[in-house]
Amino acid sequence: MRKEPILSVKNISKSFGGLKALIDVSFDIQQGDVFGIIGPNGSGKTTLINCITGFIKPDSGQVYFKGKGITGWPPHKIAREGIARTFQIMRPYYSLPAYKNLIIPLWSPRARKTGGWRGGGKHGDRNTVAVDILEEIGFERDSRVPYRLASTLPTGYQKRLELARCLAIRPEIVFCDEVFSGLSMTEIAGMTPLIEKMKIEGITIIMIEHRLRELFRVANRVMALNFGEKITEGEPRYVIEDKKVKEAYLGSEGV
């Protein structure tokens, strides 16, 4: 018997004025998947995430989370259900130190209800748990790094901070919007255990990526978009051979 998908997206379409950003996109994601979304720039990947997580209202289509319709809900309500996301243009809370950045998600209603990551959401000392979470995701504990102002952190750390922000609310699904971009090979190698850790915790991960090689190492299913339409979906090794995907990235003459 087929399990019900944890996230079900049906016929999402969105236009901005004359620009058709998404055209009739549908896909299902099972719990525990590491689902990749790929496609050249402008194919609508971030718009898709925005529509699913409530930052933009789709023109038509439905989104179901564990069977519940969440289309058009405001972002904070969707986050409360357990869907977290990172932002492509990273925006930590600039005026606060790194670990205090986590206090805000730990304060949220969901963290308080579910206990948050490692129990940090319960009333009590969120500060200590925040530092613990940072250590878990790779900030060296005894250094000054967790205490530095978030705006002064290097890119790799800021990316992890973004992920930590998502984890703090104990999500069931995390949308990672280009978390590998701008990182060196070693930094990506450092991120991969984090993704493994999330998998072990049972979190479903959806990754939008341009770094295809790194993505295909972790993902078990991949979907490709081009000009707002879904062009293919399946296991990485088949998607990478798909002619349409090659055409999308390289152009029809490059194939």
Partner: protein, 336 residues
């Protein structure tokens, strides 16, 4: 000087006073406490010091009223990201509500003021929440409008005393009560707000200012947070208004005057935005200045505005931030 750059380093004592080490020794404790004690003692002692100058003694009360509006403006603008261009709205609502309780409903002063503070704050928050789901510039527009709107409504409908206002409010029992009520509440508001912004709740509010998308993505309803912040600011502002009405024993449309909106903003910018105490400092500078310039009529406002603009453009950190920086850090030139 070839290839020199300025380097700023935290003073040793500042580093030592972070965390638990702050209570290590008297010296460290004094480093933290001294400025605050200085402020508190100075304000408390001021009414006595100025015994000989009764006119200026009364000015202290006015300074405190403006300072409270300044604190609420600083809090909203620099910690939550909402620019309130109409602080006079809180003064007016607080004043009129207190007048209603005191004159129409015959409540004694010490009941009328708290009631006016709380119900006034609820009213202000309700009325201002209309624009809270929207971008910051709408809040600025709406707060600009409301004092003017209410002035016109009161004039046009000739309610609440019309242009004459409501007279016959009770005053305080004696001048010392007058002084110390407002001073005490000012200090409570100041230190209370400073405490609040480092609490977890306060951090969430500051997150709303920095990056409201991230806050939404964590599952927090931004609008409720903003409503909460506006309510806090209204409490402070309405108290100041209620107090002022009883100080003058009169509540009229001049409570909605432009002065109450623009002077606190200038005070915050000059005194140092984001410090909350900068509002108090700025008012201690600007209010006496405005008294001195009283003979010039609306020229006062021109001065505030020019000072304000000059500070925003050139020295936008303000006096308090500058002083804090000097206190916490020292600078030196180093070779590159």
């Amino acid at each position: 000087m070839e290839n020199m750059r300025k380097e700023r380093i935290d003073r040793g004592i500042k580093v030592r006073t972070e965390g638990i080490y702050a209570i290590n020794s008297m010296k460290e404790m004094m480093f933290l406490l001294a400025p605050r004690l200085l402020l508190i003692l100075a304000i408390l002692v001021l009414p006595f010091v100025l015994e000989l100058a009764p006119y200026w003694k009364r000015v202290i009360n006015i300074i405190c009223v403006f300072a409270m509006i300044g604190i609420s403006f600083d809090f909203l603008a620099n910690y939550v990201g909402l620019v309130c261009l109409g602080g006079a709205f809180f003064i007016g609502i607080g004043g009129y509500f207190s007048a209603i309780y005191n004159v129409y409903l015959s409540l004694p002063v010490y009941l009328a003021i708290p009631c006016a503070t709380i119900t006034g704050a609820i009213f202000c928050t309700l009325v201002l929440s209309l624009c809270l789901p929207l971008r910051g510039v709408y809040f600025a527009i709406v707060t600009l409008m409301y004092p003017l709107l209410f002035t016109r409504i009161i004039e046009a409908l000739n309610i609440l005393g019309g242009t004459n206002g409501i007279t016959g409010l009770d005053s305080f029992s004696n001048t010392y009560v007058e002084h110390y009520v407002i001073i005490a509440i000012l200090l409570i508001a100041l230190f209370g707000m400073r405490r609040l912004v480092i609490q977890d709740v306060g951090l969430v509010l500051r997150g709303v200012k920095d990056n409201d998308q991230s806050v939404k993505a964590s599952g927090i309803n931004i609008t409720y947070m903003k409503i909460f912040a506006v309510f806090l600011a209204s409490l402070i502002g309405c108290f100041a208004g209620a107090y002022l009405a009883h100080l003058y024993m009169w509540a009229g449309i001049s409570l909605f005057a432009l002065d109450f909106s623009i002077l606190p903003i200038a005070a915050v910018v000059i005194g140092g935005g984001g410090t909350l105490v900068g509002a108090v400092l700025g008012c201690f500078i600007l209010v006496p200045l405005s008294e001195v310039l009283r003979t010039f009529g609306s020229f006062r406002i021109v001065i505030y505005c020019i000072l304000l603009t000059a500070f925003i453009v050139f020295k936008s950190e303000g006096l308090m931030n500058y002083m804090q920086r000097k206190y916490y850090q020292f600078e030196r030139w180093v070779k590159v």
